[in-house]
């Protein structure tokens, strides 16, 4: 089975990324030097983290439009904590970020699970509520670079074996969630609950609860990314990462995640994110206005979803084949 999967979407996407890099390299060879690629990966790390969470949510036939707002709210909360208590060690900040993000995700999850409100409505609502809450907390003010403590800002940039911690966190998340998805009961439950909710119920899987955990994971990752984002850019404000939820959904769609649920992989989501990340990093170096980015990612989404649909199209029943062999 791993062979089959590798032969399909992931390989195709890796090929597309290689082609993209090759095209860029013809105009700007320095782009594909290892150090620059590492930079691109590091820039894309937040998108990768969020795409993993979103993928899990989409697997269960839901969608989480509140991830970017969650990121911004959690980012603001940990920033304010840092301003109030500069001495608080970074690991505790990270725990707070993950926990707070997960809590926000649980709000979505509870509404979807217990009240059975359609996820798009729930997360549309919480998205605006989270953004508004940031305003209430911060009174609309920005928290700027000089207000953060140095360790708070230094963490994602700290290097280990030549890569910033930010990148390592993304790599760790990809590995960790690959294992969770393929080798744990919960991981398989995500696929089952989205692939065939009716059957999942009969197999002893509580579909609503599974969706709840998907939202919780998505929220936790958004919270983690919230800290990484504000610390890396050393700024927190209401509209932080505004509209980023759509890039996250785009990364998933490009990564082969089926919006109807049940199909998708962690590696696919990562590749989808990288695809977008490479484009946004490459535009300035190949002298295309960064204003092209939005349109290009829009086009990429449409092409990707068309290709996905082609691959997943229901094959009609083959009744005749045997008859022809028989006669």
């Amino acid at each position: 089975m791993p062979k089959q999967i590798l032969m399909s979407r992931e390989v195709l996407l890796t090929g597309a990324i290689a082609l993209l890099l090759a095209i860029i390299a013809t105009r700007f060879p320095a782009f594909i030097t290892p150090s620059n690629l590492a930079n691109v990966f590091n820039d894309t790390a937040p998108l990768i983290l969020l795409a993993i969470g979103q993928m899990i949510v989409i697997l269960t036939r839901c969608i989480d439009l509140s991830v970017a707002a969650n990121l911004a709210l959690t980012g603001m909360v940990v920033s304010m904590i840092n301003v109030a208590m500069p001495g608080l060690p970074v690991p505790i900040i990270i725990l707070v970020a993950v926990g707070f993000g997960a809590l926000l995700g649980m709000v979505n999850g509870i509404l979807v699970w217990k009240l059975e409100i359609p996820p798009i409505v729930v997360t549309l609502g919480t998205m605006t509520i989270f953004r508004g809450t940031i305003f209430l907390l911060s009174e609309g003010k920005w928290i700027n670079a000089h207000e953060f403590s140095d360790p708070f800002k230094a963490f994602p940039r700290a290097e280990l074996l030549g890569l910033p911690l930010m990148s390592w966190i993304a790599i760790a998340a990809v590995i960790f969630f690959s294992i969770v998805m393929s080798r744990t009961t919960l991981g398989r439950a995500f696929y089952a609950a989205g692939g065939n909710p009716h059957a999942a119920t009969y197999a002893g899987i509580d579909v609503g609860r599974t969706q709840f955990w998907a939202f919780t994971i998505s929220g936790a990752l958004a919270g983690l990314t919230g800290y990484l984002w504000v610390s890396r850019f050393a700024v927190a404000f209401v509209d932080l990462a505004g509209g980023f939820e759509l890039s996250v959904v785009a990364a998933c769609v490009i990564g082969g995640v089926a919006i109807m649920g049940g199909i998708g992989t962690v590696v696919g989501a990562m590749l989808g994110a990288l695809f977008l990340g490479i484009i946004s990093n490459a535009l300035p170096v190949v002298n295309i206005s960064p204003f092209w980015q939005l349109a290009i990612s829009g086009g990429a989404i449409i092409i990707a979803v068309a290709l996905n649909a082609q691959a997943n199209r229901e094959k009609g029943r083959i009744i005749l084949k045997r008859a022809e062999h028989a006669t």
Binding site: L65, V121, L124, G125, T126, A250, F291, G298, G299, V305
Partner: protein
């Protein structure tokens, strides 16, 4: 088969009875409540000109919301509407630069709306792609094109007679936009509730396959709905551009979510199959009144979004909580 056919009454409940128990009635009560509260909390509220200004908060969005309501009832969604506004507005702005007059601008606005709607409709009905992803894609694509054209610039210099659409008054405090809104509401009421086409929309939303098997041309109906949504976005673009007298690529940013909120608040099921135009009309007023009332109290816009978000989740969650409580 027995020959003593039993008499089956047409209805058990009169339409009036049904209407009294409906969502629309509840919503109307909410609207009246907000109106009363507003008139007590602010001395400026009960002023004809202020109330007239209030309508600008929702007229443009509501025009699109009517078409969106039909689309959502039919089981599809269009998240690209705000981006269609941006593209249509950009096209009109570009035309102004080469001296196109008001009639030409109107034609361009409507034409771009129709083309965008047709593009969405083509991808969804001819290629069989899920509309939520397609329109997330075209949402980036359409606005992306505006960014490519405009970058961080703006178009100005619209002809003076063009300002009538967004700034003109037909009679006393009754604005042109409000009249247009009322006419469009009436048209959509007739289309959805009084015609064969409207019946087909409900049938498709409840069971698209069943509708197809009943001889309804499902793809054609859906295509027309995307066209209508595009057209309404074009009309809204004309009004908004005229009102602002300028075009930036960020115009109407985030409106798609407010429009979907308006539709859902109006009692349209996000899962398709049910909803009404009166509901959307009342929802438009509710949202306008809330925004306006809070505005008079000097509450910033972002906080209003919390109220809107809570309203969206609350109006769906509360009845369900109530049912759970009783069970």
């Amino acid at each position: 088969m027995t020959n003593t056919a039993r008499f089956i009454p047409d209805r058990l409940e009169s339409p009036l009875e049904r209407r009294l128990k409906s969502w629309e009635t509840l919503l109307l009560a909410v609207a009246v409540g907000i109106f009363i509260v507003n008139s007590f909390t602010s001395p400026y509220f009960l002023n004809a000109w202020n109330l007239s200004d209030m309508t600008f908060n929702f007229t443009e969005k509501a025009m699109i919301a009517f078409a969106m309501a039909l689309l959502i009832i039919a089981g599809e969604i269009d998240l690209s509407v705000a981006s269609i506004i941006a593209l249509a507005s950009t096209a009109m702005g570009a035309a102004v630069q080469v001296g196109v007059g008001t009639p030409g601008l109107v034609l361009i606005g409507l034409g771009v709306g129709l083309i965008c709607g047709a593009f969405n409709g083509f991808l969804v009905t001819k290629m069989g792609l899920p509309s939520i992803v397609v329109t997330i894609g075209t949402m980036s694509l359409f606005r992306g094109i505006s960014y490519i054209v405009l970058g961080d610039q703006a178009y100005r210099g619209y002809p003076s007679d063009f300002s009538f659409f967004g700034q003109g008054y037909v009679f006393w405090v009754i604005s042109f936009e409000f009249v247009l809104f009322a006419i469009i509401a009436l048209l959509y009421f007739v289309i959805l509730h009084k015609t064969n086409f409207g019946r087909a929309v409900y049938a498709i939303g409840n069971n698209a396959i069943g509708a197809e098997f009943s001889g309804i041309r499902v793809a054609r109906v859906k295509f027309i709905l995307f066209l209508l949504t595009g057209l309404m976005s074009g009309i809204a673009a004309i009004c908004l551009t005229s009102r602002l007298a300028s075009t930036r690529p960020s115009i109407a940013f985030g409106w798609e979510l407010e429009i979907v909120t308006m539709v859902v608040l109006g009692g349209v099921s996000i899962l398709g199959g049910s909803g009404s135009i009166p509901g959307v009309v009342i929802a438009a007023f509710v949202m306008g009144l809330v925004t306006f009332g809070l505005g008079l109290l000097n509450v910033p816009g972002i906080v209003m979004s919390i109220v809107i978000g809570l309203l969206l989740i609350g109006v769906i969650a509360l009845p369900r909580l109530w049912e759970k409580w009783r069970a």
